[in-house]
């Protein structure tokens, strides 16, 4: 039984953004970038040894930048034997990022507060990947549990039956079928064409149409996050990109639509697989209760586009976007953490039933 102050956390360590929700009211996110000063001069300039999030992106020329997560998991966690040094480096980076996130939540808490967390992992993350996540938390979080990210979303929303959760992140799109029990591997699908894939497609399309434009993935990503839409209605998106050093306005409306649409067919195919393998009596209910979450679900008109595709391929479908897509996973993790009885935490620590 825990004595003293207990701090409950819900954490979503994402490829693009890491989100934390805490029961003391702290709810925030950090871009999943960690920067280490390149030399003594840049260290002096930064005034610290590690820089996180937007600050790191802003000063990236003076930093060795690392993005510790890829496709929802720690980089090189599947190549621990082939590239042990790289794996160790990225593990340390992930630890730095987690430490930073927890410090944001713990700012006003007593030093001896017990920190408990539920961390979301991609739906079909391997056992090795999940164990790596637990290792990262050692010394930062006292008690930790790992759970499937879409399940955390479902738990947070209180939709535990007859629903299909789609969590669209930067690295993965996780689909999870909820039917009143804890979802198994058969109930979940992880796709790797997600937000980062859209960025790549968008970059290529713009470069193809506007020869000579100087672009980086970061520029395209920022532009996408500000303007992303699938809808045919609405204003044209005109942005200034440099051509031989001169900022030139270019219309990227079509490229944006095409790139955002590029992930839809695979998502609908995954929905079809999960629906088709479900009890036929409940297939229709499942199709009518598709929930979109995650940062990627903020693309304008995405829900309608998936509905349209479902209509064409599955006969019908109803897609709803959650109220706070970015925080849905972390909120669910927090609720799991808070609801978890003390004895369960103790059990986990002792390893007994």
């Amino acid at each position: 039984m825990a004595e003293g102050t207990v701090l409950n956390l819900g954490i979503d360590l994402g490829t693009s953004r890491s989100v934390i929700a805490c029961d003391n009211g702290v709810r925030t996110f950090v871009s999943s970038y960690v920067g280490y000063p390149k030399d003594a001069i840049s260290r002096k300039l930064m005034g610290k040894d590690v820089v996180f999030g937007e600050e790191a992106i802003k000063n990236r020329l003076a930093l060795n930048m690392r993005r510790p997560f890829e496709k929802g998991m720690l980089k090189y966690s599947n190549l621990t034997n082939d590239k042990p040094e790289e794996f160790a480096r990225y593990k340390a980076t992930a630890r730095d990022l987690l430490q930073h996130l927890v410090s944001l939540a713990k700012k006003e808490e007593p030093e001896d507060a017990i920190v408990r967390a539920v961390i979301g992992a991609p739906a079909l993350a391997s056992t090795q990947n999940k164990k790596t996540l637990i290792e990262i938390t050692q010394g930062i979080i006292d008690d930790v549990m790992i759970t499937s990210e879409p399940f955390a979303v479902a738990y947070g929303l209180g939709i535990l039956s007859h629903a299909l959760i789609i969590d669209i992140g930067a690295g993965t799109v996780d689909l999870c079928r909820m039917h009143g029990t804890i979802p198994t591997d058969d109930d979940q699908i992880t796709l790797t064409k997600a937000g980062d894939y859209i960025d790549e497609v968008l970059l290529n399309l713009i470069k193809m149409r506007h020869k000579g434009v100087d672009l980086s993935v970061n520029m395209v990503k920022r532009m996408k996050e500000e303007n992303s839409t699938i809808s045919d209605k609405g204003e044209n998106v005109v942005v200034h990109f440099p051509f031989a050093g001169k900022p030139t306005p270019i219309d990227v409306t079509e490229e944006l639509r095409a790139s955002c649409r590029s992930i839809v067919p695979e998502i609908v195919e995954a929905i079809r697989m999960l629906v088709a393998s479900f009890d036929p009596e409940f297939q229709d209910i499942l199709k009518q209760n598709v929930i979109l979450a995650g940062g990627g679900s903020q693309i304008g008109g995405l829900a309608r586009e998936i509905e349209h595709y479902m209509g064409e391929n599955l006969g019908s479908g109803k897609v709803t976007k959650v109220e706070e897509p970015l925080y849905a996973g972390a909120n669910g993790g927090l609720l799991l953490c808070k609801d978890m009885p003390d004895e369960y935490w103790d059990e986990l620590k002792s390893g007994k039933k």
């Binding site: 009211g25 709810r27 056992t127 164990k131 009143g180 009885p341 986990l348 390893g351």
Partner: protein, 181 residues
């Protein structure tokens, strides 16, 4: 006959001339009479205005004089009365003060009470506003499953429903397996 005709003609001319002359004379008389009446009326009106002004001035003057007389009389009377009343007032005032003291105190307290009531209302209103803001903030936090720190000590984990508890049990088992593998 011709002589007669001439005589009649002359008479006619004279008569005609007389009539014209009489007409002219009468017209002239009427005109002059009208002008005389008009002049008279103007003079009369002027005279009336002047008379009115004089009357007004007279009344004003009379008023001023009366006011002056009254003022001086009252000053004189006041001085006399003061001289007459002052010793009496001096003698009565301690008694009156003693009699009025409880009422004055009562009035003072009541006044303060009412004044404080106004301040109290302000304080209560500001407190109500703050409570309202806190409630709004709390409802926002609760919406996302967050609770204030105070509430952490009194965990409502025990209130978790059986089906949710089953889910939590499954999560724990999954994590135990993960650690054991």
């Amino acid at each position: 006959m011709t002589g007669c005709k001439d005589a009649f003609s002359d008479i006619g001319k004279y008569s005609q001339a007389t009539v014209v002359y009489s007409g002219l004379k009468a017209g002239s008389l009427v005109l002059r009479t009208g002008e005389a009446i008009k002049d008279g009326a103007v003079h009369s009106a002027n005279a009336l205005v002047e008379a009115g002004e004089y009357s007004l001035a007279t009344v004003q003057y009379a008023g001023l004089v009366s006011y002056s007389i009254l003022k001086r009389s009252s000053q004189f009377t006041g001085a006399c009365a003061k001289k007459a009343v002052e010793p009496v007032a001096k003698a009565v005032s301690p008694v009156a003060k003693a009699m009025a003291k409880p009422f004055a105190l009562l009035a003072d307290k009541t006044g303060k009470l009412f004044a404080r009531e106004g301040k109290c209302e302000e304080s209560v209103k500001s407190l109500e506003d703050r409570v309202l803001k806190l409630e709004e903030r709390l409802s926002t936090l609760e919406k996302f499953g967050l609770r204030p720190k105070v509430a952490i000590a009194q965990q409502e984990k025990k209130l978790v429903s059986d089906d949710r508890r089953a889910f939590l049990r499954a999560v724990v088992e999954e994590n135990k397996l993960l650690r054991a593998s």
